[in-house]
Symmetry: C2
Subunit: 548 residues, 2 copies
């Protein structure tokens, strides 16, 4: 189970992943062009690699193709080899486990998915009116949301290059735009006296940056680096970029927004900007750059009606009769000719096992896979993450604030406020009042739901005023690190060396799968990519095996 | 008629409107706070105005409220005064005319809308399979689009602060997100050897700008302007903004995108960036800043199923029996006690008239309003604008290019390519192959539809390759300056002095309305704001008038 479309939610995290990411290109996949490039890159440095990429039609100027090669197992694979589809037991009905069962099922594998929880989906969780949520050591909550209101308590957004999009297409799950960045949303940092619109923060920061560089260039500070033509082109860009005056000074701009927007008259723009020193002191950098990364850039997407449409469709394609919920696993054994899984209801034998649980849980599961595997499973560190869904009886953020979707960025312990990217203009709606991780998530996670709500409302009120509290209708909160059978939002690998590579390979007849085994940790796409890799390797092995 | 949600489509235009916009705040509206501020601004300069705004709670730190005050006429207005609703003839069933009829109708005015064309909506025009399009001097086209495919040939997007959103809410027109900027779309300028993704263009431009400023600051070039603390904060921002290395150099970044995105392995980023000189020479500034303005910022919105849902709903609320299509007006006369409109079918008398036609057509209409009015009507200059809708039988831009909505920016004569922000993953779809204005629109407008299509395909192929041509299923193009009863995409005021102010006032019993009478030219919101103003003034006059 347990894959999740949750992007990291602070820039530190993004930077960490970025550092882990492209720094180690290549990996174990058998792609000739890429292997060549990795070799060239290692031998000749980036310049040589770039030249080689050009020769291969892979240079930035060429059309990139984010798609990976993947050929699902097919029944014909067996008819050609005289071998038969094997019996596979899959631990966990999260996105990784369901994707494994779905892809193996295409070739006729006899798959059974054992899921500890009483539902499928893992960290893909959509809560609706009447849904119950249990936390370890907490009182159960029951969502009181009205008709049509839902809360994506886990996975919340999909980038267009992600394989998640392909599964939505293949499974017929309709998608819609997810607004990940909204110029009308607010930025609020403790360096500011009051929130400002994102458009205002951006206009001021860009304005001053452009002015500083234009003036430095004009004063000759760049003459050694830039030709005169370069400097002219730079000045032209900076004028546009910062909306500078003819003298290359920034004095504010209509980009900051308006007290009253233009109409019959010209409108009233929202005044002159704070000083350069005030703008820098406000510390809005994280908010302004939040969508610059490859995983957060606009536009993003979501299934219509709730993220769980993906796992609902996957489970239906797998066959509900192949999925046993409420079945926690208590042991896992490699046998000479198969695997044996023990669970509360008894034991289950199969030819192969795919363990698609979080590594922190797998590390505690009694098994005979060896100490090295246990150590590897214990390496990644679970990360705390939490969210609260706040249902309001009227969409004040649309009517009064003109915020339709998107995110308000703060440096408060709530970190973000998300506004819904769907159901625009309907009567009620749900705002995500916090989406935080690490220390902030642990802080909220220790509280009762009522205390979480009170704290979230106190913080959100700093941005939206009294209506944020008074107009609340109902709420549900989740601390993922306190969710039974999950115990974390996702994991962090201290290093991708060692255990990460070991667990890519099977331990006997046991394979591992999950977002935690990819460079897309915390995204459903990671779970799906990992599942595809596991399915490919397992299938190749079955095709190679001596017919029994 | 004839208001239109079409934003200007090049930055020159945006800059022009910006220059016209907030430079002349105030106008004739009776808002005390604003009048005060305008006075303060004139007397004390921007600093004094800013201080005054703070005192009034209007400073940037306060919550702005983009809503204008507007109270629609109501039947009770008459019962209180003993007066009666008047008979009003409205010329043009575009957005301005329909909005006038809708708002006046709320109080029981006896409105009749005379529309020259055989349909309502003016420049709000959605074409579907079977629809015919006629151009002056051109062969009629019939759209051959398949089921569910539509082409917003005119108005295409709505900013969240616009009054258009309020009408969608009030009229029950469902809306969805319009993707106006997409990191996965392309940028293509003649300064480049091949298109690059918008994310790549942005990463490189920001990277080099950040590096240049960070190094200039490090070398002491900003020491006179910035304190040490400012410089530290600036460096921190620039590191984030440009994704710079620890030495503050830009060497590319994962933000550029990937040849193969991260998955089980770390992915293969798309190489090292071109040199700083190459990046500047590519001339990508317009593309990168296209959504920085207050009118184009993300997110934007569109009605579900086609822009004409707005005019369909307005017309239904007005009452179809009050709208006479196919009724071109041939004369307009103020009488001592009313107005007389002549049309092909005869004459029509009413107490008042609202002329909601484009000014270029009103200037030619025989009338008795005086030479000054004729001169004022002749002042704004019609602007050419054109679009082509290209229907494809498969959504290659989603499947192969991973582009879901958004705009590819070019400096070719097609200017833009729009990808649909709806119907994701459906079988077919429609791309806007050009959306251009002025000289480019005139160039395309002079061609037959077949020649326009051929030219658009030749240009688009530079970005998307052969499939852009081979996979085409059908197409329709429009040259707004060749549309009967419109003769332009919108107008440009050489100056907002003189005629603009004159036409805000009625000429006898004739009022004017349209986007062309606002600072939101080319937007439906302009038409609606103008209509609201006209309705307010007309209603106040009727309430003041001696009961007849």
């Amino acid at each position: 189970m347990n894959e999740r479309e949750e992007p990291v939610n602070d820039s530190e995290e993004t930077e960490r992943r970025t550092a882990n990411g492209p720094g180690t290109p290549g990996g174990a996949r058998g792609m000739t062009r890429r292997a060549l490039l990795v070799g060239v890159g290692a031998a000749g440095g980036a310049g040589a690699m770039f030249a080689a990429m050009g020769a291969l039609g892979l240079a930035p100027e060429s059309h990139d193709s984010p798609q990976r090669d993947f050929v699902p197992p097919q029944p014909s694979d067996f008819s050609l080899t005289g071998r038969g589809a094997a019996k596979v037991v899959i631990l966990g009905a999260g996105v990784a486990g369901l994707t494994c069962a779905y892809e193996l099922g295409k070739a006729g594998y006899d798959c059974t998915v054992l899921e500890a929880a009483d539902r499928v989906g893992g960290r893909n969780l959509t809560l609706r009116g009447g849904d119950r949520l249990t936390e370890t050591g907490g009182r159960p909550q029951t969502a009181a949301f009205g008709e049509g209101v839902y809360f994506n308590a886990g996975a919340g957004r999909i980038a267009p290059w992600m394989v998640t999009m392909d599964y939505c297409r293949e499974l017929g799950v309709p998608i819609e735009t997810f607004v990940n960045n909204n110029a009308s949303a607010y930025v609020y940092t403790r360096g500011m006296t009051a929130p400002v619109r994102a458009r205002t923060a951006r206009a001021d920061m860009y304005g001053y940056v452009a002015e500083l560089l234009a003036k430095a260039s004009g004063a000759g500070a760049l003459n050694r680096r830039l030709t005169r033509q370069d400097r002219e082109r730079l000045a032209e860009f900076l004028r546009r970029f910062g909306d500078l005056g003819p003298d290359l000074a920034y004095r504010g701009s209509t980009r900051r927004g308006f007290v009253t927007y233009p109409g019959v008259d010209a409108g009233l723009p929202i005044g002159v900007p704070p000083s350069l020193a005030q703008v820098f002191a406000a510390g809005m950098g994280r908010a302004i750059t939040m969508d610059f990364g490859y995983d957060q850039a606009m536009p993003m997407f979501q299934p219509v009606g709730g993220m769980d449409a993906i796992v609902t469709a996957l489970a239906a394609a797998v066959g509900r009769d192949r999925i046993r919920t409420g079945t926690p696993v208590t042991g896992l054994k490699n046998l000479p000719d198969g695997v044996e899984v023990t669970h509360r209801g008894g034991t289950f034998r199969a030819d192969y096992c795919v363990a698609a649980l979080p590594p922190n849980l797998l590390a505690r599961l009694p098994h005979n896979l060896g100490a090295e595997i246990t150590a590897a499973l214990g390496t990644p560190v679970p990360v705390a993450a939490g969210k609260i869904g706040l249902e309001y009886g009227r969409r004040w953020w649309e009517i009064e604030d003109r915020i339709y979707g998107g995110v308000t960025e703060t440096d408060l312990d709530i970190t973000h406020i998300w506004y819904p990217s769907h159901g625009y203009h309907s009567r009620s709606g749900l705002v995500v009042g916090y989406y935080n991780t690490e220390e902030n998530a642990e802080l909220y996670g220790r509280l009762s739901h009522g205390a979480r709500r009170a704290r979230a409302l106190t913080q959100g009120k700093k941005i939206h005023g009294e209506k944020y509290r008074t107009d609340l209708r109902s709420s549900v909160s989740i601390a993922w690190h306190r969710q039974p059978y999950l115990e974390g939002g996702w994991v962090r690998w201290p290093s991708y060396e060692g255990g990460f590579a070991l667990l890519q390979r099977p331990a006997g007849r046991v394979y591992f799968a999950g977002d935690w085994l990819t460079h897309l940790v915390a995204w459903q796409a990671g779970a799906m990519e990992s599942a595809r890799r596991t399915v490919t390797e397992l299938h190749e092995r079955v095709l190679r095996a001596t017919p029994s």
